[in-house]
Amino acid sequence: MFTALFGSVEQGIIYAIMALGVYLTFRVLDFPDLTVDGSFVTGAGTAAMMIVLGYNPILATIVAMVAGFLAGCMTGLLHTKGKINPLLSGILMMIALYSINLRIMGITSDTGVTRPNIPLLNTDTVFTMFNDFWSKLGIDSVLSSAVTAMGGKSLPSTWGILFFMLIVTLVIKLIMDRFLKTEIGLAIRATGDNKRMIRSFSANTDSLIILGLGLSNGMVALSGALIAQYTKFADIGLGIGMIVVGLASVIIGEAIFGTKSIMRTTFAVIAGAVIYRLIYALALRVGWLDTGDMKLITAIIVILALIIPQVLNKQKEKKRKAKRLAARVAAQKARLNVEQGGNGLA
């Protein structure tokens, strides 16, 4: 149990980078970008392809990010220059990326030009590289004995991945927080908020949308590249429903932790991604559910995360109104009593 949940926290933190990307388009730019389903695999495929060909995993991860950035920019170009509806530009790019991803992974194929999956079994990844360094520190045994002391039975094989991903994700979060407060960042936010206004302050909304989509899909691809290295596997079907997972993380996080400031919201999105993974892991443990049911469960989680806050808000509102009414009735009664008392005296 502990190992399973531990694994989903690790994965959740990796997926959180993708969720931050979705937050950037969906919330900040107000652009429902479906490219994500494709660019996630672009990241996974590019990284896996390069690692298999013997490149340094860090370099492979960076190139994967750039590939995702370019894919996002293409969606932006379709929308701004081609004047295609945002949803449709994303869908078009997603479908185009399916073939492109097969070709990217196909570079490693000896027999054909396309390839639907690449295993990364005995290769170096950013995680194995980090673990080489981490295992020398001896922190694992300290933490593991702490867990055993608290009564934990099954132990994770290493804490390094969790630690490594926490650092990477937090650094990305901090850069993003900072970026959204720079002049360009402010302009991107205003583009999502009021295009007419930001144009009247000499900002080119087209370039800002393209840049925003590029950055977002760069993060999505980074997340894909890391997932491929974490699971030691890249597959063409990896990205199916990824946008919904991203949305689920954003919505769950926002509903639980609120959106008071940008720093708070980006934190909420990361936490949302982890919570989503935990719910997912718990659902998988239900005996009569099959892994094939997971997309349905994801959809249900998103629907609930969207509806429950509305219902809660409505109830709160009702309670408040009832309270106000009660206060008013009480005040009226009190006034009547005083008046009657006054009459009695006269």
């Binding site: 407060k181 720079t182 402010l186 144009r199 302050f201 000499s202």
Partner: protein, 264 residues
């Protein structure tokens, strides 16, 4: 300063809805001119404003500001020279961003936006000083979201943001029309102060004739896509609303038919 030469615009050309929105408009503004524009609905006032700001491009004719031909330049490039306040108080600000962030966007209008923080200590001080001019106590609410402000407050903020970088041309498109009378008066007063302070070349569309007479040094009246009356600085100070009505009848041979144009 601003030169409109032979501007023409036809909407829905070649369809039964064809409308001659602007018909050979010529208008020259000297530096520091403050021109008020009146006219009934559909006279072409807003179309002319959109033409200058770049939201629309003319079928033919040219728009020159400070010797630069801007006729074919997109809106965001022209915005370097043009400040604008819209009729809708929601239109000029970003509601989910704070007051200081909105001001920071306005502040970087004529610089290249980079990776510098939008709000720093020095700028915040400057924003505070500028907000004090509005007398709305906004200087103490720098981190409040603009969406929480009232229409009047937002319009005052829009006005400040539009004039922040002292644009070559200031366009005011019925910017007091959506406000209640007391707020409208406040915005009118602020407009006067901000324009005078930086001696901005200004074009203001209004439905309120009294406002058109009170503000500015020149007045033009538009009807059916044409400028039908131009009043210069010498005559404008003595002009009254009945004068304008008689002028209109005299030129058009018909009574002014819009109550809204009369009463504002």
């Amino acid at each position: 300063m601003l030169k409109l030469d032979g501007i023409n615009k036809i909407f829905n050309e070649g369809t039964p809805d064809e409308k001659n929105a602007l018909d050979n408009i010529n208008l020259h503004l000297a530096a520091g001119d403050f021109v008020t524009i009146i006219g009934s609905n559909g006279a072409g006032k807003s179309t002319m404003m959109n033409m200058i700001s770049g939201a629309l491009t003319p079928d033919f004719g040219s728009i020159v500001i400070d010797g630069n031909d801007l006729t074919r330049l997109p809106e965001h490039k022209r915005a370097l020279h043009i400040g604008r306040v819209f009729q809708d108080p929601m239109a000029g600000t970003a509601p989910s961003m704070t007051i200081e962030e909105n001001l920071a966007i306005a502040y970087s209008r004529n610089t290249k936006r980079g990776l510098r923080g939008g709000v720093d200590k020095k700028r915040r001080e400057f924003f505070k000083q500028s907000l004090e001019k509005l007398h709305l106590n906004l200087e103490n609410r720098l981190t409040a979201k603009v969406g929480l402000l009232s229409g009047g407050e937002r319009q005052a903020l829009s006005l400040l943001m539009a004039t922040f970088t002292k644009p070559a041309i200031l366009l005011l498109d019925e910017h007091t029309a959506a406000l209640d009378p007391s707020r409208a008066e406040l915005i009118t007063k602020l407009t006067k102060e901000l324009v005078e302070e930086s001696n901005l070349t200004t074009l203001m569309v209004t439905h309120n004739m009294q406002q058109a007479l009170d503000l500015g040094n020149r007045l033009i009246m538009m009807d059916k896509g044409q400028i039908i009356l131009e009043v210069g600085a010498e005559r404008k100070s003595a002009l009254t609303i009945p004068d304008l009505m008689t002028e209109f009848e005299h030129i058009r041979g018909e009574k002014m038919n819009s109550d809204r144009a009369l009463l504002g």
